[in-house]
């Protein structure tokens, strides 16, 4: 049996990894990495925006539900009608069907996220990428911000611990994003931390984690 399913009534906090296919109809707070096909059904909810290298990854990913987190696929990502994704997409082939919604950076180039050039590129882009989830989360609700996904990561390195009050993430708003955007697009190196406010820290960590 290689097909796995997280049913509607099931909540997983932590990391889901492995071979084979996985269909998520329920809720996952954490990382999902499978070698086969990953499906997030209309009822599926995945929250995994704690940064790190690819919070949802699979050979192919198809989303009809809601995801807060980055998606990367070796082959293809498809956002079906009704999909709502707050995060970045990376795959050689990306399809967004009418009615599929996304907020984040989308890149069809170099899905092998470790290629030299693409690596540099994504690094330059990550400040805005990192602040993307927080940005939309803020208007949603103030209380449980995106950082809430953090708990799901098992055994995070201690450096990650630097406790920040959850509300800070929620309070982080557009200006940071807008400023970061033009810089990043010119391919200039990411500015040093002080220039970037809160978003930068996460972005830096993100880069580290990606290596």
């Amino acid at each position: 049996m290689s097909g796995s399913r997280i049913g509607r009534g099931t909540v997983i906090r932590g990391a889901v990894r492995g071979e084979g296919d996985l269909e998520i109809e329920g809720r996952v707070e954490g990382i999902v990495e499978v070698e086969g096909e990953l499906g997030v059904s209309a009822s599926g909810r995945v929250v995994s925006s704690d940064g790190g290298a690819g919070t949802l990854s699979a050979r192919r990913i198809s989303v009809s539900g809601a995801v807060a987190g980055d998606l990367s696929a070796q082959e293809a990502i498809v956002l079906e009608e009704g999909a709502r994704v707050l995060g970045n997409l990376r795959a050689p082939s990306i399809g967004i069907r009418p009615g599929g919604l996304v907020k984040g950076h989308v890149s069809t180039e170099g899905a092998a996220a470790h290629g030299g050039r693409t690596q540099a590129r994504s690094a330059a882009v990550s400040p805005k990428a990192a602040s993307a989830p927080a940005r939309a989360a803020a208007p949603e609700r103030a209380a449980p911000p995106v950082r809430a996904a953090a708990p799901a990561r098992p055994a995070p390195p201690p450096s990650r611990q630097a406790p920040r009050p959850p509300t800070r993430a929620a309070a982080r708003v557009e200006p940071a994003v807008e400023q970061a955007a033009p810089v990043a697009r010119k391919g200039a190196p990411a500015p040093v931390m002080p220039a970037l406010k809160k978003g930068a820290k996460g972005a830096m960590k993100k880069q580290k984690g990606a290596r």
Binding site: R13, A15, S107, P151
Partner: protein, 144 residues
């Protein structure tokens, strides 16, 4: 040829314009109605109707329209009131902001997509579960 001519727009835009294959524009293009670009534009484009960048079209600049369809090459940010569609075979580098964005598989795209939407209420804190737990709990659970 001009697909725009079959489109119906509300305002003063029964006009459809075609910028042909051999046409090269350096500078700003603005207009009412629809515009189909099969040539080359280096500069910003702003039309009140639908902007179509055809398979042979090449646009380098910011674009702003009611709706935008890209079949060719576009380098620059796109702002649309309505839909933005990137067709298979298109190459787009830039940030897209519109009511909806459709991206065909087989298109090459690099940039940010910003559509306006609300995440479902139960995404960040599940209904009937008392919200996301404090970090420590789940972490400990993860290690056990």
């Amino acid at each position: 040829m001009s697909r725009g001519s079959t489109m119906h727009r509300s305002s003063s835009s029964d006009e459809a314009h075609l910028l042909g294959r051999t046409v090269k524009v350096r500078g700003r293009v603005t207009g009412d109605g629809d515009l189909r670009v099969e040539g080359t534009i280096e500069g910003d484009v702003r039309v009140s109707g639908e902007l179509t960048i055809g398979t042979s079209g090449v646009v380098t600049g910011q674009t702003n329209a009611q709706a935008v369809v890209v079949e060719g090459n576009l380098q620059g940010d796109v702002q649309a009131v309505g839909e933005i569609a990137i067709r298979a075979g298109a190459r787009v580098e830039g940030n897209l902001s519109g009511a909806t964005v459709a991206l065909d598989e087989g298109a090459s795209f690099d940039g940010r997509i910003d559509t306006d939407f609300e995440l479902p209420d139960d995404l960040m804190s599940p209904a009937g579960e008392g919200g996301a737990r404090p970090s420590r709990d789940a972490r400990r659970g993860g290690r056990r």
